[in-house]
C-alpha cells in the first residue's frame, strides 16, 4: 500500500482541538491536533531515595504548569472498509458521519465507531476486466444530512437520499446528459468521465468537472445542467495525442466559493481558472513564481465571445490538479507540483458583458 495520503477532510470545529480525517489507499484515520501541556511534576516518593518511613511521610506528586506544545495523535483508525483505492472522503453536516468512496463502493462510517461500517453503494464487481463504470468521487450535501452524491466514470452523477432505502444503488436521481449516440466517438466516454464533484455551499448546485469543461447542475433538475462551461475546450481537436500521452486521464478537481458564485478548477500550463457560475466569464490565472507578491493578475475571457481562447503551446506536464478555497474568506490555495500558492481574491464585481 502506497505511503501517500489521498484525501484529508476537516471536521467542523465543535471541539476544543482540531479533528481531521485522512486516508491513504485503504485506511481512514482520525487525527486530533491539540495543544498539549508538558507538565512539570515534583514531590515524588521514590526519586532515588529510600521508601518513606511512615504513612504520614507518603507524598502525593504535584503539578507545575508547563509549556504548551502543538501535538497530534491518532484517535481512531477505520480499517478494512475498502478493497480498492479510496478516492474520496466527505464529512456530513451532522458532524457524526462521513463517507469514503473507492472505485466500486461507498461506505458510510460513524466517527465514533471504527468497527462498524455501512455500505450504502456497492457496485457488483463481477469480472474486474469487464468493469464499465467506476465511482470517481463522493460527497455529502453541505446542509442536508440525508443527501449525498457520487459521480461515475460514465459521466453520471447520482444523488441519493439516505432515508429512502438501506442501499442506494437503485434509488437515486441520475444527473446525466443523454448523448446522441451518433455523436459518440472513441473518446466520448473518457472525456465525459466526471473527475470530481462538489456541492455548492448553499446546497443548491452540484458542480462537476470532466476533462474539457465544468458543468453546473441544479439539484432540482436532473435532465440537463444549468450550464456547461468550457475550461480546456481547445483540446478537443487533440484527443488522439492526449490519449497516447495518457494526459486524457488527468483528473482535475474543483472547489466552490463560499458564496456559491464561483468555481475554481485547474488546467494545463500552470493555469487555473475561476469561473463564474452564471456562465459569464472565466478568469485564468497562472500559479508560477513569475508573479510578484500582491500583484493583481488574471486574464478574463468572456463566454459570450464565441471564439475560444487557445494558448499557443500547451505544456502538459505543468498541470494544476488540486486547490481549495477558504471556507468563508476569499483566499485560494493552489497546489502546483510541490509548491503551494496562496491567492487573495479582491472583492470587486467581476466585470461582464451582457
Amino acid at each position: 500500500i502506497d505511503e501517500k495520503v489521498n484525501r484529508i477532510e476537516w471536521l467542523n470545529k465543535h471541539y476544543k482541538s482540531l479533528l481531521v480525517l485522512t486516508t491513504n489507499d485503504k485506511t481512514v484515520k482520525l487525527w486530533k491536533i491539540f495543544n498539549k501541556e508538558e507538565p512539570k511534576l515534583y514531590n515524588f516518593n521514590m526519586d532515588g531515595k529510600p521508601a518513606p518511613e511512615s504513612i504520614n511521610k507518603l507524598k502525593v506528586p504535584k503539578h507545575k504548569k508547563g509549556q504548551k506544545v502543538l501535538s497530534h495523535k491518532v484517535l481512531k483508525v477505520y480499517p478494512k472498509g475498502h478493497e480498492h483505492h479510496i478516492n474520496s472522503l466527505s464529512m456530513s453536516m451532522d458532524n457524526e458521519h462521513f463517507l469514503s468512496a473507492d472505485d466500486l463502493r461507498v461506505n458510510i462510517w460513524n466517527v465514533e465507531r471504527s468497527d462498524d461500517v455501512f455500505c450504502i453503494v456497492d457496485i457488483p464487481a463481477g469480472n474486474l476486466e469487464d468493469l464499465s463504470e467506476v465511482i470517481t468521487s463522493g460527497k455529502f450535501h453541505p446542509i442536508d444530512p440525508n443527501l449525498f452524491a457520487f459521480s461515475s466514470s460514465k459521466g453520471i452523477i447520482k444523488l441519493c437520499d439516505l432515508r429512502l432505502n438501506s442501499s442506494s444503488e437503485k434509488n437515486c436521481t441520475n444527473f446525466e446528459i443523454l448523448e446522441d449516440p451518433s455523436k459518440k466517438n472513441f473518446f466520448s466516454e473518457i472525456i465525459n468521465s466526471v473527475s470530481d464533484i462538489v456541492f455548492s455551499k448553499n446546497g443548491r448546485y452540484i458542480f462537476s468537472r470532466d476533462y474539457l469543461c465544468t458543468k453546473i447542475w441544479d439539484i432540482r433538475k436532473n435532465k440537463a445542467p444549468v450550464n456547461s462551461l468550457r475550461v480546456t475546450n481547445y483540446l478537443e481537436k487533440r484527443l488522439c495525442d492526449l490519449y497516447e500521452s495518457e494526459n486524457i486521464f488527468d483528473k482535475f478537481e474543483l472547489c466552490g466559493s463560499p458564496d456559491s458564485n464561483f468555481i475554481f478548477t485547474g488546467s494545463y500550463n500552470d493555469n487555473f481558472h475561476i469561473i463564474d457560475r452564471h456562465g459569464n466569464c472565466n478568469c485564468t490565472l497562472e500559479a508560477t513564481f513569475n508573479n510578484k507578491k500582491n500583484q493583481m493578475i488574471g486574464t478574463y475571457n468572456y463566454y459570450a465571445d464565441k471564439k475560444a481562447s487557445a494558448p499557443g503551446n500547451v505544456n502538459f506536464n505543468h498541470k494544476i490538479l488540486q486547490g481549495t478555497w477558504h471556507p468563508t474568506g476569499s483566499t485560494l490555495a493552489v497546489a502546483n507540483y510541490n509548491c503551494l500558492f496562496l491567492f487573495n481574491g479582491v472583492t470587486s464585481q467581476m466585470p461582464y458583458t451582457k
Binding site: H14, Y15, K16, S17, K32, K36, E37, P39, L41, F44, N45, M46, P50, A51, P52, E53, S54, I55, N56, L58, K59, V60, P61, K62, H63, L75, D94, N95, E96, E112, P145, N146, L162, R163, L164, N165, S166
Partner: protein, 591 residues
C-alpha cells in the same frame, strides 16, 4: 489491599518495607508507560486508603484533577474509580469534593470517558447531602448545560434525572426549563442525548407537570428534522406512555406512533417495527386492535427490506396480542406474502417465528393456511430459512398433531436430511430424537432407520459425530432392547469398512453406547469387536481401541477386566506406535 491493611497497622512503627509498594504505586501514577499508569489508577482505592480520608481530599483529588490531560484509557479508569470514592473521601459529608474532577472528565472529547464520568456523577449525587446538592451539584449541572462545547451539553443531559428529586420546587422548575433548552439545542447530538434521557426525567417529575413540561418536548423531538433524533422518540413513546393515563396516551402517544410508522426515513420505521410489541403495550389493548393492526400491515409491506425483516420477526408476538379472529382475518392474508418475499432476510426472519403462529391461529387455521407456508419455506433456496423452520417443528406438532405433521412434512424433512449443505443435515440430526419420541419406534424403524445409518457413514465428520452422539439419546427414548436389536448390529458392522474413518465410527459408537447397554452386551459383542480391531493396521484405530477400553473398564466386573481387557492392553503397550503405547498405558492404570 492485603498489604495496605498491613501498612496501616504499621503506621506508628518503622514500616519501610510495607510502604514501598504504595510509594511506588503513587509515583507510577505519572509513569511514562501507559500500562503502568493504568495499573496505578486501578489501584487508586489502595492509595487512598493508605493516605487516609483527609489527605485523599486535600492532596490526591486535586492531583487527579490536574491529570485530566491523559490518554483516554487512563481517563476512563479514573472516571470509574471516582464513582466509588464517596467512602474514601470521608462519606456523604465530603462527597462534593469528587465533583470537580468528575465535571472535568464529563467534558472531554472521548465519548466513553464522558459517559463513565456521567455515570459516576450520578452515583456520587445519590450520596450528597441536600445543602451540598444545592451548593455544588446544581451549579455543576447548570455549567454543563450551558457549556460552549457540545460535549459538556451532552453530558448535562445525563445528570438531570438524578438531580431533580433532590431539590426544591423552584430549582426543579429552573432545571426543567434548562433541559427544555437542551432539547432544542442547535447540535443534533445534544438533542439526541436529551431525547435519550427524556423518559428517565419524566419518571421523576410530578404527574401533573408531565403534560405541561414533558409532552411538548416529546412532541417536538418526535418531529425533529434529523431522523437520528426522531428514531429515539419511538422508545420514548414506550417510556412516557407508561406514565400517562389512557386518554392522554390516545391524544399524545398514538399520533407520534402513527407518524413514526409512516416516517419518510426507513430507519424510523425500522425502530417502530423493532419495538412493535412494546409499543402495543404502551398504547393499550383497544388501540392495538385498531390502529396498530393497520400500522403493522404497513410495516410488513414496507418498501425497505430491513423494515420488513424487523416486522416479520414480530409477527407471532403481535398476533398473540390481538383477538384470534382479527389475526386470522386481517393479518394472515398479508403474512402469506412474507413467505415469498424477495429478500432472504425477510423470509428467514419469518421462518423463525411462523411456527409460533400455529399456537395463535389454532388447529384448523394452521392446517389450512400455515401448513402450505411451512412447506414453501422448507423448500427455500436459502439454507438459513430452511434451518429456521426445522428448529421449531415441535411447536407445530403440539397444535396439529404428529400424524398430520409427519404426513405432510416428513417427505420434506427426508429431503433435507440428504441436503448438500452439511449444516442443514446436522440440524435435522439434532432434531431426530425429539421426532422419534413423538412418532414412536415403528415409525422410526420404518422411515428413519436407514437414513440414520447413512449419517453414520456420512462424509463429513461433524455429521458422523452428531449421529453417534444422538445414538445415545435414541437409546434413551426407545430403550436398550431396541438399541441392542436394531442399532447395534448395523453399527458394529461398520468395522468392516475399507476406510479407517468409518471403522472409527464403530469404535466411537461403542464408547457412546456402552454405558447404556449393560455388561452382558459389552462382554459378548463389544469386547469381541475390540479384540478384532486392536490388530487393525491403522494406528488411529488401535489407540482408539485403548480409549474405548478405558471407557468400558468401570462398566464390567473385575474378572472380565483382568481376564479379557488387561491382556489386550498389555499387548498394545508393546505396540510400535507411540500414541498407541501411550493410550494403552493410560487405560491400563485403570485396571
Amino acid at each position: 489491599i492485603r498489604w495496605c491493611g498491613f501498612a496501616r497497622t504499621m503506621a506508628g512503627e518503622e514500616g519501610e518495607d510495607s510502604l514501598y509498594p504504595i510509594a511506588v504505586l503513587i509515583d507510577e501514577l505519572k509513569n511514562e508507560d501507559i500500562q503502568v499508569r493504568l495499573n496505578s489508577i486501578k489501584s487508586l482505592r489502595t492509595i487512598s486508603l493508605a493516605l487516609g480520608e483527609e489527605r485523599t481530599r486535600s492532596e490526591l483529588i486535586p492531583f487527579l484533577n490536574d491529570s485530566i490531560d491523559d490518554e483516554d484509557e487512563v481517563l476512563l479508569a479514573l472516571a470509574e474509580q471516582l464513582g466509588q470514592f464517596v467512602e474514601l473521601v470521608g462519606g456523604p459529608d465530603f462527597a462534593y469534593s469528587l465533583l470537580t474532577p468528575l465535571e472535568n472528565l464529563a467534558t472531554v472529547e472521548e465519548t466513553v470517558v464522558r459517559d463513565k464520568a456521567v455515570q459516576s456523577l450520578c452515583i456520587v449525587a445519590q450520596s450528597l447531602k441536600s445543602e451540598h446538592m444545592n451548593q455544588h451539584f446544581v451549579p455543576l449541572v447548570k455549567r454543563l448545560a450551558t457549556g460552549d462545547w457540545f460535549t459538556s451539553r451532552i453530558s448535562a443531559c445525563g445528570v438531570f434525572a438524578v438531580t431533580i428529586p433532590k431539590v426544591q420546587a423552584t430549582t426543579k422548575a429552573e432545571l426543567r426549563q434548562l433541559f427544555g433548552q437542551l432539547c432544542h439545542d442547535d447540535t443534533p447530538m445534544v438533542r439526541r442525548a436529551a431525547s435519550a434521557n427524556l423518559a428517565k426525567l419524566a419518571a421523576v417529575i410530578a404527574k401533573d407537570l408531565l403534560k405541561t413540561d414533558v409532552i411538548p418536548i416529546f412532541m417536538s423531538l418526535s418531529q425533529d428534522e434529523q431522523d437520528s433524533v426522531r428514531l429515539l422518540s419511538v422508545e420514548n413513546c414506550i417510556g412516557i406512555g407508561k406514565l400517562l393515563g389512557p386518554a392522554d396516551v390516545a391524544t399524545y402517544i398514538l399520533p407520534a406512533v402513527r407518524s413514526a410508522s409512516q416516517d419518510k426515513s426507513w430507519r424510523v420505521r425500522y425502530m417502530v417495527a423493532e419495538q412493535f410489541c412494546d409499543l402495543c403495550d404502551a398504547v393499550g389493548a383497544e388501540m392495538t386492535k385498531t390502529e396498530m393492526v393497520n400500522a403493522f400491515i404497513r410495516l410488513i409491506k414496507d418498501t425497505e427490506a430491513e423494515v420488513r425483516t424487523a416486522a416479520s420477526s414480530k409477527v407471532a408476538d403481535f398476533c398473540a396480542l390481538i383477538p384470534r379472529e382479527d389475526a386470522v382475518k386481517k393479518i394472515l392474508p398479508h403474512v402469506k406474502d412474507l413467505a415469498g418475499d424477495s429478500s432472504q432476510h425477510v423470509r428467514s426472519a419469518f421462518a423463525s417465528v411462523i411456527m409460533g403462529l400455529a399456537g395463535v391461529f389454532g388447529k384448523s387455521s394452521t392446517i389450512d393456511n400455515l401448513l402450505p407456508l411451512f412447506l414453501q419455506l422448507l423448500k427455500d433456496d436459502f439454507p438459513e430459512v430452511r434451518l429456521n423452520i426445522i428448529s421449531k417443528l415441535n411447536t407445530v406438532s403440539d397444535v396439529i398433531g404428529i400424524e398430520l405433521l409427519s404426513q405432510s412434512l416428513l417427505p420434506a424433512i427426508v429431503e433435507l436430511a440428504e441436503d448438500r449443505q452439511w449444516r442443514v443435515r446436522l440440524a435435522i440430526i439434532e432434531y431426530i430424537p425429539l421426532l422419534a419420541s413423538q412418532l414412536g419406534v415403528d415409525f422410526f424403524n420404518e422411515k428413519l432407520g436407514n437414513l440414520y445409518m447413512t449419517w453414520l457413514g456420512d462424509c463429513v465428520y461433524s455429521i458422523r459425530d452428531a449421529a453417534t452422539t444422538n445414538l445415545r439419546k435414541l437409546t434413551e427414548v426407545f430403550g436398550v432392547e431396541w438399541a441392542r436389536q436394531t442399532i447395534l448390529p448395523k453399527v458394529l458392522n461398520l468395522h468392516t469398512h475399507t476406510n479407517y474413518l468409518y471403522r472409527m465410527t464403530a469404535l466411537f459408537a461403542i464408547a457412546v453406547l456402552s454405558p447404556l447397554l449393560g455388561p452382558e452386551t459389552i462382554k459378548n459383542d463389544m469386547l469381541k469387536l475390540i479384540d478384532k480391531m486392536k490388530d487393525d493396521p491403522v494406528p488411529n484405530i488401535r489407540f482408539n481401541c485403548c480409549k474405548a477400553l478405558g471407557v468400558i473398564i468401570p462398566l464390567v466386573e473385575n474378572s472380565v477386566v483382568q481376564q479379557v481387557i488387561k491382556p489386550m492392553l498389555q499387548k498394545l503397550c508393546n505396540d510400535p506406535d507411540r500414541d498407541v503405547k501411550f493410550f494403552a498405558q493410560e487405560s491400563l492404570t485403570q485396571c
